[in-house]
């Protein structure tokens, strides 16, 4: 893929967090392999979803792309430029182009700052719109865009509900007209009826502003609704990536299949359909299984899976999967992938 089409290119990204022992003389005794060799592209104007269970490295990946964390190895290109090791003023300049929305709308806003100040903070940081009246006008415009009442400019975060706070987060992220927006579980802390409000807002903003979006969530239905392409992560690696339709209708990696079959469906008619359940828990990322990391829980695992690491490959059905023995169409109904048509 050429650099013109993709806004972000991530290659072999690795992030290991050291585990240390000792209080005075700390020595490294191991590493949590939070992200371990992840490559993907994000095309201009698309929404890339990243799904996976807790501890799979999806948030770490987002923070690496944002340069909130420094990568252990690998490269991140933004608009064709390597930003992996940028520092100082150059890093600050690139940060204008990408913004983030966080999961918890309660802890991601400073309780002592008015909403107007919070949304105007990006302008202050980057020395834009120095005039007081000018900045206020811009902030109120943003508030209007995200469906907040501009008259609430001088209110404090505690005066807003969860859904409204998340709107404040969106307004703040949009202030600098970024090219890339990363939303890390933006709705999981919200009530069901409010979730849809925020999801619709994000979709609307994307359409209007031509944003590129990386959308991180554990809820597979939400990701399907929001994303053009989806990457499924397991223990620090991408196990399957591809456009939403083929990935949900014909998952090839057994882990994707297991995730899909585990989602409870709001239709009592489908009850009792037996589905395959993964046994056990996700292994520790400090000591992940060798070769294919899923082989310890995989219903299809064979000897090869514990010896050779399968590369991410095009499986001919629209998605790329990292699996020696990908799922066949006949197996989908067996494991209870209900979206299969």
């Amino acid at each position: 893929m050429s650099a013109e089409e993709s806004l972000v290119q991530v290659r072999d990204l690795v992030k290991h967090f050291p585990i240390t022992q000792g209080i005075v003389l700390q020595r490294k005794v191991g590493a949590v392999q939070a992200v371990d060799g992840v490559s993907f592209d994000v095309r201009r104007g698309e929404t890339l979803g990243i799904v996976g269970e807790s501890g799979c490295g999806k948030s770490t990946t987002a923070r690496l792309v944002m340069r909130l964390l420094d990568a252990t190895a690998g490269e991140i290109h933004f608009e064709g430029r390597d930003i992996t090791r940028l520092k100082g003023a150059e890093l600050k300049a690139i940060r204008r182009e990408m913004q983030m929305i966080f999961q918890d709308p309660y802890s991601s806003l400073n309780p002592r700052k008015t909403v107007g100040a919070a949304i105007g903070q990006p302008f202050a940081i980057h020395g834009l719109l120095e005039g007081k009246a000018e900045r206020k006008r811009a902030v109120q415009e943003l508030m209007e865009t995200v469906g907040l009442n501009p008259e609430h400019y001088n209110r404090y975060p505690h005066e807003f509900s969860g859904g409204q706070r998340q709107r404040i987060g969106v307004a703040r992220a949009l202030a600098l007209k970024p090219k890339l927006l990363i939303a890390d579980e933006p709705v999981s802390a919200l009530d069901v009826s409010i979730q849809a409000q925020v999801l619709n807002l994000l979709r609307e903003m994307q359409r209007e502003l031509g944003l590129t979006l990386i959308f991180i969530a554990h809820d597979l239905s939400v990701v399907r609704h929001m994303c053009d392409r989806v990457a499924v992560m397991y223990l620090g690696r991408i196990v399957e990536i591809g456009p939403g339709d083929p990935l949900y209708d014909f998952p090839r990696h057994p882990y994707t299949g297991a995730l899909l079959s585990a989602v409870p469906v709001a239709d009592p008619q489908l009850r009792g359909e037996r589905r395959e359940l993964l046994s056990g828990d996700v292994p520790s990322p400090a000591n992940p299984p060798k070769a294919c990391r899923f082989h310890t829980r995989c219903p299809k695992a064979q000897e090869l899976c514990s010896q050779e690491d399968p590369p991410l490959q095009d499986k001919g059905t629209g998605t790329e999967a990292a699996c020696h023995f990908p799922l066949a169409r006949e197996e989908l109904a067996e494991i209870g992938v209900r979206s299969a048509r």
Binding site: G147, V192, N200, R224, G244, L259, V263, L278, S339
Partner: protein, 365 residues
């Protein structure tokens, strides 16, 4: 709701729970009535602050110390749990009625081994030796699917993963073979694959032990999988009850429609727009007049702000109850339109209802 035979196991009648606070009285639960039959599963659905948790805490007498004002009846096997003395209630709590909570880490004591906590739960109600209780604890951990139970019984909660902690909580709840298990958001803190394991575990245990379950959740998928009957709560009241099949095939309350329409589905096309419920859940101190849902209801009529609807049987189905002031015919046509993919505004026009007077709900403020 169904539950014939030898009478319901639990019957909650006109239960009110109020908390006096500095800002005013919080009407957490406002006159709810429901039944749970032996061996059946009732799902209580609602958003945060709808009173679903408070109503079940009250069943176990856990709101007594918080200065709550409780009225109404909760009959469990002929005893009224609202007026039962503390001592007698303690004999029921954890014994005949058990509860599992949302957050398994904060429900287990971090200083004590999982086994010790299980033994305590068993010995609180059974006069057995420590050794026998320990045997039982190991058996229970095995029953809920914890591998190598005889070793893990000596471990501390922090050594268990999230899913295993919830299994340990379930083991503790099952220790005395309760007749009723109340599960309050049992899987909300868990990942999907673990959630599927826990739900399957609850179902198989229910089959084996024949206990009744009240499952409280905001996740419509979870109730669709688990519940025989469903009650939808809004602002401290039950607004609709029906069998699970009925509730998903022909929901009657605009709030239920809103919930169903605001969740994306795994199999739906991306082009389908979600229809959020506008506005915010109301304050339980200053509740809206009339039908509590009217400020957020796209079909509200002027008199809905005055008249308080009662839970009444739906025409043609005495087991399906709804508290809504729209006419039955209108509701059926509205849902038919919504099910076809119409927006609430389109459905309202198709049915010929005038738009609500106050549009304050739509400002989002």
């Amino acid at each position: 709701m169904s539950g014939l035979g030898d009478g319901p196991l639990l019957r909650v009648e006109d239960l009110h729970v109020e908390f006096p606070t500095e800002d005013g009285v919080v009407h957490a639960v406002d006159g709810i009535t429901y039944e749970v039959a032996r061996g059946r599963t009732l799902g209580i659905v609602g958003e945060s602050g709808s009173g679903k948790t408070v109503s079940s805490l009250t069943t176990l007498g856990l709101t007594r110390t918080q200065g709550a004002r409780v009225s109404g009846r909760i009959s469990f096997e002929g005893k009224d749990l609202v007026t039962l003395p503390d001592r007698e209630l303690r004999a029921i709590r954890g014994n005949e009625i058990a509860m599992i909570f949302q957050d398994p880490l904060s429900s287990l004591h971090p200083f004590f081994q999982v086994g010790t906590q299980l033994i305590e739960a068993i010995r609180a109600h059974r006069d057995v030796s420590k050794a026998a209780a320990r045997e039982r604890a190991i058996e229970l951990l095995g029953l809920v699917g914890i591998p190598d139970a005889s070793r893990r019984v000596c471990e501390y909660p922090h050594e268990f993963s999230g899913g295993m902690r919830q299994r340990a909580m379930i083991a503790m709840a099952l220790a005395n073979e309760p007749k009723l298990l109340i599960a309050d958001e049992p899987t909300t803190a868990l990942d999907v694959t673990v959630q599927a394991q826990i739900l399957a575990l609850l179902e198989s245990l229910q089959r084996e032990l024949g206990m009744a379950i009240v499952i409280i959740t905001h996740d419509l998928g979870v109730v669709a999988e688990m519940a025989d009957d469903i009650a939808v709560m809004y602002a401290g009241r039950i607004v609709e009850t029906a069998s699970a099949k009925e509730m998903f095939a022909g929901p009657e309350h605009p709030y239920t429609w809103g919930l169903l329409k605001s969740v994306p589905s795994l199999s739906a096309s991306r082009d389908v727009e979600l229809v959020p419920i506008s506005g915010q859940p109301p304050s339980l101190i200053r509740r809206p007049s009339g039908c509590h849902f009217h400020p957020r209801c796209p079909y509200a009529q002027p008199d809905h702000a005055r008249i308080d609807p009662h839970l009444e049987p739906v025409s043609g189905n005495p087991a399906h109850h709804v508290a809504c002031l729209l006419q039955s015919e209108q509701r059926k046509r509205l849902w038919a339109e919504l099910a076809k993919g119409a927006t609430p505004e389109q459905a309202r026009e198709a049915v010929g209802l005038p738009a609500p007077e106050t549009d304050l709900a739509r400002t989002g403020a």
